[in-house]
């Protein structure tokens, strides 16, 4: 595919900050989205620290009940709509065109409009803090009738609804652009079963966004109308309808927040094992089924409502176990016999798989209606989903950061700081979230701002608050690492890890049109590994190297 080289006459050139803001280069857009998401990660983290301070001891008076409602609602909303989901899309937007050998993203202007719509959504949602009555405070799911105009009056909740609506529209549009890119812009030779593992995980994620986010948009429009005299979600049936519709989006988004980080961890494991990802075809089939199946489990969030067919959703939810098992099998298969290098990216990836296992296994517990009746609405659930989203996805994210930071910036991150960050975060994460299983099993409800003095609860809650502080320290170490590594640059070179996929065949950072040199031949999902193996074979034939 050739490229029109002459710049269009009527489009002025932009430089500096404005140049970055209006750039339709997928790398620039991915970076902007990623950096903004990271900012929201910090903000959501501050909300979490404030919540944990309030909960450090029984009957604390650090924040008011109303403020606590705002904090947990905005913590969840910020993390889900403004950090983990958009960060997944940011990784896909930056890396997918590079991995499939494309020069650019499909419909880049649409993606740019989506990026700014999403950012407006984030800012509008946070604007609620300045509204009288406070920010959104009906939880990240804003279940009706709690979220209606009578029970949660005020502009803050309206801003929440509009913020989510905007963020959802923006995310949807960006995901559609990534999907179109994979469908239409693969380099010559890049057949579907030669796409890298990360690209496949990105593909199923954007498929899920395209299938499920329109529902979120619809629900937010309906909720807005409902809050302004529309009376849509009325009575028991209305409450159930809201949940059915919301969770139709709300479960798949959990997997959107999982797959790309799984992909990042998988790439890190394969490269640092100096082996191809094991069981590639089975992996591709399993994540396709995994993603589709996760579109059919949504009402497992509603077992206790008495308004759902529990058996069906218990069946589909438990069936998720099969593809999840294949992922673990493949990860272990890749490690076996590999020449393993324990870099920071590799350690984060391994920790991702280990810690996610805790979230996954407890997911099997709560997929059972009988056990969910016991666990529902308690800290057990909070522990479960933080093990998937934080102990899982965020560790996968850091695996991706340590793996691709050199490609994106041209500079290496400090390995020792990365390993220290990992250690600190592992301690903090498990200290924060593991005691929640005991508290939840013991009946401590989630979303309460104060709890009575109860044997054992004080100690466990203090441990959790302490752990949350340690997590914050870990994040701080990461930020220090980024600043130090960018200030005192250690040049990474084009391919510091002996990568497998096409992004390592270009410069670090890649040029505007991604590849200046011709692409290597694409004969498998690891074309650079193919080249190295072929060179080794040739060397053996010339007897330069001894037998294998």
């Amino acid at each position: 595919m050739s490229v029109a080289s002459a710049p269009p006459a009527r489009i002025p050139r932009f430089t500096g900050w404005l140049g970055a803001a209006v750039s339709t280069d997928h790398k620039r857009m991915g970076l902007t989205l990623g950096v903004c998401s990271l900012f929201f990660f910090g903000l959501g983290g501050v909300f979490a620290l404030l919540m944990r301070t309030q909960l450090a001891q029984s009957n604390m008076q650090f924040v008011s009940d109303n403020s606590y409602n705002e904090l947990f609602s905005m913590h969840g909303s910020t993390m889900i709509y403004l950090f983990v989901t958009p960060m997944a899309i940011a990784l896909a937007m930056y890396l997918v065109p590079l991995q499939i050998g494309a020069l650019r993203l499909s419909a880049p202007r649409l993606a740019l409009a989506g990026l700014w719509t999403w950012l407006c959504g984030g800012l509008v949602m946070q604007q609620g803090w300045f509204a009288s009555g406070g920010a959104g405070r009906a939880g990240w799911s804003s279940i009706a009738p709690l979220s209606n105009g009578t029970n949660t009056p005020g502009v803050g909740q309206d801003l929440w609804v509009i913020g989510v609506l905007l963020a959802a529209c923006g995310t949807l549009v960006m995901a559609a652009c990534v999907l179109a890119t994979i469908a239409r812009r693969r380099a010559p030779g890049m057949s579907l079963l030669r796409m890298p593992v990360f690209t496949w995980t990105a593909l199923v994620s954007v498929l899920m966004v395209v299938a499920s986010f329109p529902m979120l948009v619809l629900v937010m429009i309906l909720l807005y109308i409902d809050r302004h005299g529309g009376h849509i979600f009325v009575g028991f049936a209305g409450a159930i309808d809201y949940q059915d519709l919301f969770w139709f989006f709300g479960h798949p988004v959990v997997y959107v927040m999982f797959f790309p980080y799984l992909g990042a961890a998988a790439e890190a494991i394969a490269v640092n094992s100096h082996k191809r990802w094991f069981g590639y075809t089975a992996f591709v089939g399993s994540i396709m089924a995994f993603a589709a199946l996760s579109m059919a489990v949504w009402s497992h969030h509603m077992y206790v409502t008495g308004g759902v067919t529990n058996q069906y959703f218990a069946f589909t939810s438990t069936a998720l176990l099969v593809p999840a098992g294949i992922e673990y099998f493949d990860a272990i298969g890749t490690l076996i016999g590999g020449a393993i290098v324990l870099r920071a990216s590799m350690l984060f990836a391994l920790t991702f798989f280990i810690q996610f296992l805790v979230g996954g296994l407890t997911g099997i517990f709560v997929a059972s209606p009988v056990l969910d009746y016991h666990a529902f609405g308690t800290y057990f659930i909070v522990a479960h989903f933080h093990y998937t989203l934080f102990a899982g996805s965020v560790f996968g994210f850091f695996a991706g950061v340590y793996h691709w930071f050199p490609k994106i910036t041209g500079a290496l991150l400090r390995e020792w700081l990365g390993k220290l960050q990992l250690l600190v975060m592992v301690i903090g994460t498990n200290l924060t979230f593991f005691p929640m299983f005991f508290l939840g099993n013991d009946g401590m409800p989630r979303r309460i701002s104060r709890y009575p003095t109860h044997p054992g609860w004080g100690t466990l809650n203090e441990l959790e608050t302490f752990g949350a502080g340690i997590i914050a320290l870990g994040v701080l170490l990461f930020l220090i690492n980024v600043v130090v590594s960018l200030r005192r640059r250690v040049p990474a070179g084009d391919d510091p890890w002996l990568g497998h996929t096409l992004e390592w065949a270009t410069t670090s950072p890649p040029p505007p049109l991604n590849f200046e040199a011709p692409l290597p031949p694409i004969r498998s999902y690891a074309p650079l590994l193919d080249l190295r193996e072929e060179a080794l074979d040739r060397a053996r034939e010339r007897r330069e190297v001894g037998p294998a």
């Binding site: 490229v3 029109a4 002459a6 710049p7 269009p8 006459a9 009527r10 489009i11 050139r13 932009f14 339709t24 880049p108 202007r109 740019l112 989506g114 990026l115 700014w116 719509t117 999403w118 950012l119 407006c120 800012l123 509008v124 604007q127 502009v155 309206d158 801003l159 509009i162 999907l179 179109a180 994979i182 469908a183 239409r184 812009r185 693969r186 380099a187 010559p188 057949s191 579907l192 030669r194 593909l203 395209v210 299938a211 499920s212 329109p214 529902m215 309808d241 059915d244 519709l245 139709f248 396709m288 589709a292 199946l293 579109m295 059919a296 759902v308 067919t309 058996q311 069906y312 505007p512």
Partner: protein, 134 residues
């Protein structure tokens, strides 16, 4: 590009099977409708990819292309469209004048986007003509 519609349509088909399962076992109209809508959206996307390029349904690796295409480097109007949508919806809640301002900004930036795209097409035509002259 070759094969691009296959994973989309394949995934839509798995969704379809699960949706039928949902209709049969769960038989709640809201759920069935939601799942069916998702199937329709995914199939529509897949069919659109297929209609744009018929080879999108054929297996095998993409072949080298020879056509000339534009690569937009920047788009002020696309950014402003995003901001305008945000401004208008924010105005819906916060202050009505922002709603009208946002709508006006949206219309203006769509107009500018049309100019941008036309300018880009013109530059592509120029390159094609130069190539023919050679």
């Amino acid at each position: 590009m070759r094969g691009g519609a296959i994973p989309i349509l394949a995934w839509g088909t798995i969704l379809l099977v699960l949706t039928i399962g949902n209709w049969v076992w769960d038989d709640k109209p809201v759920n069935g409708a939601a799942a069916s809508a998702a199937v329709v959206i995914i199939y529509s996307f897949g069919v659109a990819v297929w209609l744009l390029r018929r080879e999108a349904i054929r297996r095998g690796p993409p072949e080298p292309g020879t056509e000339i295409e534009n690569v937009p480097a920047a788009s002020l109007s696309a950014m402003v469209i995003g901001l305008a949508v945000g401004c208008a919806l924010f105005g819906l809640v916060w202050a009505k004048f922002l709603l009208y301002f946002g709508i006006a900004l949206f219309v203006a930036s769509v107009g500018r986007l049309v100019l941008e795209v036309r300018a880009e097409r013109a530059s592509r035509r120029r390159v094609l003509e130069e190539r023919e002259l050679r």
